[in-house]
């Protein structure tokens, strides 16, 4: 990994893509898609502007040339139809991957996802192996409708799996795992990471298993449980805090449902203190669920309150000073960590 991105910093843009064997987050997703399409004929893509144009963020760039317009389908602007068609195709044994142009538009397919896709196996015995993916998250001044982090809605919906990669390695490994999974998987990409991080990826086939968290940094004093772009914020803060003598462990959830409770519990049983960090808004976010799991299953090991560092309960504002104020960052995390360490 080539270093943590700084939320609010400049976007190196497309020029940063794949230099000297390093693969960016966006390229990693595309490679994952390509490999799975090559491996399995039943994998196909559908979404708005994903074919000829290659997607608003170029995630699917070039795939229509490689696989043809039968397998890379440009659709009308109709998220319910996109997901609905994916559900139907998945019932027939296909492995559709549906793109939401921005993940915010997933709200327009909410019924289809939560009622048709999520409940199909349970009530009829027919599983729907589909993936819904798209760019989530803020930091690029996209305003209220191009910056959302809706993952908690779906983690609260039985029948769905929810993942969010923080690294290029995971982006590729998780998209491949999601496609191979027999159940509907929501794959949340963080648009801020697309071209800001890169790393060397293995040349051989690999997946990152769904349901497994990763300890990104070991530490003794407290655990930061996080995921997505905030993983980098946690690492950045951990560096700052190290200099102050506070030793932070960083757990990257990677999968938000089903949670890897074992890894979280082990970490917090060791450090005895935890901060739950996410970019999504506070109330009812993933942090609340982690807090519930910890206070249910790790109670005796807690030496301090569970602290949430999240966006406040507001829509995502557009103007840079507002968005900066809104988003969690290293400084806010450090403040919370210092107080908790001193507790």
């Amino acid at each position: 990994m080539s270093g943590a991105p700084h939320l609010g910093g400049p976007d190196p843009g497309a020029s940063a893509t794949s230099a000297k064997g390093l693969t960016t987050y966006v390229d990693a997703i595309r490679e994952g898609l390509r490999e799975e399409m090559a491996r399995d004929e039943s994998v196909f893509l559908l979404g708005e502007d994903i074919g000829v144009y290659g997607g608003a963020f170029k995630v699917t760039d070039g795939l229509i040339q490689e696989f043809g317009e039968e397998r890379v389908i440009d659709t009308p602007i109709a998220e319910t139809a996109i997901v609905g068609a994916a559900v139907g195709a998945a019932m027939m044994g296909m492995r559709p991957v549906a793109e939401m142009q921005f993940i915010d538009f997933i709200s327009c397919a909410f019924d289809m996802i939560t009622n048709f896709a999520a409940k199909s196996r349970y009530r009829t015995g027919v599983g729907v192996p589909l993936v819904i993916r798209g760019p989530s998250g803020g930091g690029v001044h996209g305003g209220p409708f191009h910056s959302q982090n809706p993952e908690a809605y779906f983690a609260h919906t039985p029948g769905l799996k929810v993942v969010q990669p923080a690294t290029a390695y995971d982006a590729k490994g998780l998209i491949k795992a999601a496609i191979r999974d027999d159940d509907p998987v929501l794959f949340f990409e963080h648009k801020f990471l697309y071209r800001r991080i890169k790393e060397e990826l293995p040349s051989e086939d690999y997946i990152v298993p769904i349901g497994k968290a990763a300890v990104r940094r070991e530490g003794r004093d407290l655990t930061v449980v996080t995921y997505g772009a905030m993983m980098w914020t946690a690492l950045e803060a951990a560096k700052t805090l190290e200099a102050e003598g506070i030793d932070v462990e960083v757990v990257d959830l990677r999968t938000l449902f089903p949670l890897d409770e074992t890894t979280v519990l082990e970490s917090v049983s060791k450090t005895n203190k935890a901060i739950l960090l996410h970019e999504a808004t506070r109330t009812g976010g993933i942090g609340a669920e982690i807090a519930a799991v910890l206070s249910e299953r790790c109670f005796e090991y807690l030496d301090g309150p569970l602290v949430r560092v999240t966006a406040p309960d507001t829509p995502v504002p557009y103007s840079p000073p507002l968005e900066e104020f809104f988003l969690p960052n290293s400084e806010k995390l450090c403040r919370a960590a210092r107080a908790l360490a001193a507790y």
């Binding site: 196909f44 039968e70 397998r71 389908i73 659709t75 009308p76 109709a78 998220e79 319910t80 139809a81 996109i82 997901v83 609905g84 068609a85 994916a86 559900v87 139907g88 195709a89 998945a90 019932m91 027939m92 044994g93 296909m94 559709p96 019924d111 289809m112 009622n115 048709f116 409940k119 199909s120 196996r121 349970y122 009530r123 009829t124 015995g125 027919v126 599983g127 039985p158 029948g159 799996k161 999974d181 027999d182 159940d183 449902f257 089903p258 049983s269 249910e296 299953r297 790790c298 109670f299 005796e300 090991y301």
Partner: protein
């Protein structure tokens, strides 16, 4: 596409079966043996059966809860339907879901969700997959006058039209959506008019004339199979009972109901068969009697079938085990060594 005499009699048998199964369900409902609501298709049997009959083996249907006739055409047994309404373990959904919410692509039937319109994009996806898999496969689904107002109907049919998918949509205009009359549902003159929005053919047909229904559906199915894309077929019919058994349909004018009673699709079709010398009244009565006995037996078997085991509630949320286990008694955490 002409029907043989056997086929014409099969249509009769299916329509009678539809009606008899429903009458038995009403009995069971009154005895408190049906779990939840009971949705009737009385007076609409020709619509479901005439349309589904136009399909071939390998085709796939997505019926709604008033399309009992469709699943009978697809070969579901009366017991499948009755156990399902009785929430039994042996029912197609195993007691997980209610009424006609059952299906499997391998049996040619897709289960709807309650949200009206949602089946249309899903059936489009089935048709899309069929094309990718090089299957000779036509899909057919049904939607009420009320259901055509949903966004999902619009998105799904538009997508299917753009992709020229083999999808036939039978829009059942039965005058009512629950208590809401057609003119409060849409200002369009008829549902067939909605086809123009998608650049596909639209046609209205007498849904109480099983042969006309069959013929219109058959034209649409043939068009779909030959690459001509989707068709919207409006079936003009009438909902003879309330929305469900609990609804006394007080909002319906008696005269209107009476007028439609005269157009009962089953009686009408019996007259046609007799007039055309396909069958005598006695032959039809014999069919009726046989069906009655069959269904009685099916009811008995259904009543003897078990309810599901409670733990089944936790099964099959995901392919490999579920996470949502029952609560464990507190404390769930390990004791900390001090």
């Amino acid at each position: 596409m002409d029907l043989t005499r056997d086929q014409r009699l099969e249509l009769y048998r299916l329509m009678r079966l539809n009606r008899v199964v429903e009458e038995k369900l009403v009995n069971l409902y009154r005895q408190g043996k049906v779990v939840g609501g009971l949705y009737r298709s009385l007076g609409q049997e020709a619509t479901s059966i005439g349309s589904a009959y136009a399909l071939s083996r390998g085709d796939i249907v997505g019926p709604l809860i008033r399309n009992l006739g469709v699943v009978l055409v697809m070969g579901y047994s009366p017991r499948d339907v009755i156990t399902q309404y009785m929430a039994r373990a042996t029912s197609p959904s195993g007691g997980k879901d209610c009424n006609l919410h059952f299906g499997r692509p391998d049996r040619g039937v897709i289960s709807p969700i309650s949200m009206l319109g949602a089946l249309i994009p899903v059936m489009a996806g089935i048709a899309l997959a069929g094309r990718m898999q090089k299957k000779d496969l036509v899909t057919m689904t049904w939607i009420g006058d009320g259901g055509t107002s949903t966004g999902a109907f619009h998105e799904g049919l538009n997508f299917a039209a753009v992709q020229k998918l083999p999808l036939v949509v039978i829009a059942e205009n039965n005058g009512w959506a629950y208590s809401t009359p057609f003119h409060k549902q849409t200002a369009a003159k008829c549902l067939a008019d909605k086809a123009a929005a998608y650049g596909i053919p639209g046609e209205s047909v007498d849904g109480n004339d099983v042969l006309a229904m069959y013929a219109a559906a058959r034209r649409a199915v043939d068009r779909a199979r030959s690459g001509g894309g989707p068709t919207l077929v409006e079936a003009l019919t009438y909902r003879m009972k309330g929305h469900a058994e609990h609804d006394a349909q007080a909002y319906v004018r008696k005269e209107e109901l009476e007028a439609w009673r005269q157009k009962d699709p089953l009686e009408r079709y019996a007259r046609v068969l007799i007039e055309s010398k396909d069958a005598t009244a006695e032959q039809l009565a014999a069919i009726d009697q046989a069906i009655g006995q069959d269904v009685d037996r099916e009811v008995q078997l259904a009543e003897q079938s078990p309810l599901p085991a409670p733990e089944v509630a936790l099964q099959n949320v995901y392919a490999n085990g579920i996470r949502g286990v029952e609560i464990e008694p507190a404390p769930t955490g390990a004791r900390r060594p001090r």
